[in-house]
Amino acid sequence: MILFLIRKILWAAATLAVASVLVFAALEIVPGDPAQVMLGINATDDAIAALREDLGLNKPALERYFSWIFGLLQGDLGKSYTYSVAVRELVADRITISLPLALLALVMSTAIAIPVGLYAATKRGSIADTTIMAVTQVGYAIPNFWLALLLVYILAIWLQLVPAGGFPGWDGGLVPALKALFLPAVSLALPQAAILSRITRSALLDTMGEDYIRTARAKGLSFRATIWKHALRNTMIPVLTILGLQFAYLLAGTIVIENVFYLPGLGRLIFQAIALRDLIVVESAVMMLVATIILINLVVDLAYLWADPRLRHGRP
């Protein structure tokens, strides 16, 4: 088990390292001079030279990469050229919106999908099951930002139940902040819940076909007890895998959803930075999101240890 843990952590570290090279390299291939790109075509030669010096562009790429990485490890993400503040402050500020939003959406989608999926599987073939399958089929064809627009129209503009957008900040108290994140989270969560409930359903159906389930039933265990004691944990393995992938998708999804609700999160920051051609901010913000995704996947891998006892006893 220790070996499994160490291997997973090492792989995550290696993945992070490769990902950081990719992010760095992507911005290295900017056609032309990055300083020129950032300042636009009207910049004077002096201004470009000054920015080049400021960004350390005159040093070799390898040196710049390592100083970027060491900076990242120490929490120094560089300085934003357009905002004239440390990128770290910008990112730290924005991630307190994006991360809670993605987590809230994940919790919502799991809380809806797992019970629905399990219910559909236990009532397989019934009208309830057929209805659930039809609804989820349509559900996962719905783009989350369109759902968001419709929800804004119905709940915010028409019924005026929730704010249509904006974020009051966490300082104003938990309730107004969560209220502002509620609709964005629902719009992210529902299409994901549709996929997840279908997966939960088919995972439980797969498990219920196994021999040990028949044995459990044959020894007189009730249907309900068989599911709770034997089937559920095995059902969770594929569900966990998808949860990890979904989190990555949700976190990226916040980029779009933040635009619908005018939430000042990481996604908005990335877009503003792209519009202003502030490559340092794009680089660091993207790296933060990628690192979060890799860490979450590591957590999912570790969760397998709980779900699959075989991993705890050595052999995967």
Partner: protein, 279 residues
């Protein structure tokens, strides 16, 4: 083929899916030669009209006919999603097959490389590409295509691994064929079913992703109509022209639903064993 279609049309998912998909493709094709109105034609006197007689789906804030824009937008969605699937299949399948054929460390390295790509959701790669090269439809294709690569690599590796120990592959090896030739002649044709199903699903996802990218301004640029862009423009006009947001969204949902149903149907028809297990 005739026999295939005969069995397939008895499958409800397949039949519904193929009808919807053909309809969308036909709409896109017709838009090349005919649309009710010219999509570049601005008619301010007829702006923001709700659906009525001569404009079936109403008009937008420039007075452009939304039905015509939906038709032309279909072209764009199909082109981007299709190109992204081609990138995914074109790179992912060879990588997956190579990993399965060689095994060992190469396999490990290739599959770990996949994990790295998985850490870059298409929205993030699109944001990065846009930061470097500026936004555009090609961006969207590359970003979604990159996202498709690991999906097809994993799938084809898994499928190839189950095929390699089979008797007919053994026979081919005994006959002296090398691994590349076996992969091309036997492995790939035998996994075609799974690939077709996955391609349909990836196509559907591509349409959603393209719309998302266009919506945030990283995809197709105006004046080319695209469904995502139309939703973006509709956002500020929700309170007085909701039809501008409802119609492009429905177009996305219907096409994605059609493709997903087609994928489900194809899986049932091409691999009955799998479908029995799932349903």
């Amino acid at each position: 083929m005739k026999q295939f279609l005969k069995t397939a049309m008895h499958n409800r998912s397949f039949a519904t899916g193929i009808v919807i998909t053909c309809f969308i493709v036909l709409m896109a094709a017709v838009s090349f030669i005919w649309t009710p109105y010219d999509v570049t034609n601005l008619d301010i006197t007829a702006k923001l009209k709700a659906p009525y007689g001569s404009h079936w789906f109403g008009t937008d804030h420039f007075g452009r006919d939304i039905f015509s824009m939906i038709m032309v937008g279909a072209r764009n969605s199909i082109a981007v999603a299709l190109a992204a699937v081609i990138i995914g299949v074109g790179i992912g399948v060879p990588v997956g097959c190579w990993a399965a054929a060689r095994g060992g460390q190469l396999d490990e390295v290739l599959m770990r490389g996949n994990d790295v790509v998985f850490a870059f959701p298409s929205l993030l790669s699109a944001a990065m590409i846009a930061a470097v090269f500026g936004p555009g439809a090609i961006n969207a294709i590359i970003a979604i295509g990159i996202f498709n690569i690991p999906v097809f690599a994993r799938l084809s590796r898994g499928a190839a691994l189950t095929l390699w120990p089979r008797d007919f592959i053994m026979a081919a090896r005994a006959a002296g064929k090398n691994k590349t030739r076996i992969t091309i002649e036997h492995i790939i044709p035998n996994m075609a079913n799974v690939l077709i199903v996955q391609a349909t699903v990836a196509f559907a996802l591509g349409i959603i992703l393209e719309a998302g990218l266009a919506y945030v301004g990283l995809g197709t640029q105006p004046p080319t109509p695209s469904w995502g862009k139309m939703l973006n423009e509709a956002q500020t006009m929700m309170s007085f022209a909701p039809h501008m947001a409802v119609i492009p969204g429905l177009a996305i949902v219907i096409s994605v639903l059609g493709l997903n149903l087609l994928g489900d149907g194809l899986r049932d028809v091409l691999d009955p064993r799998l479908s029995r297990k799932r349903d």
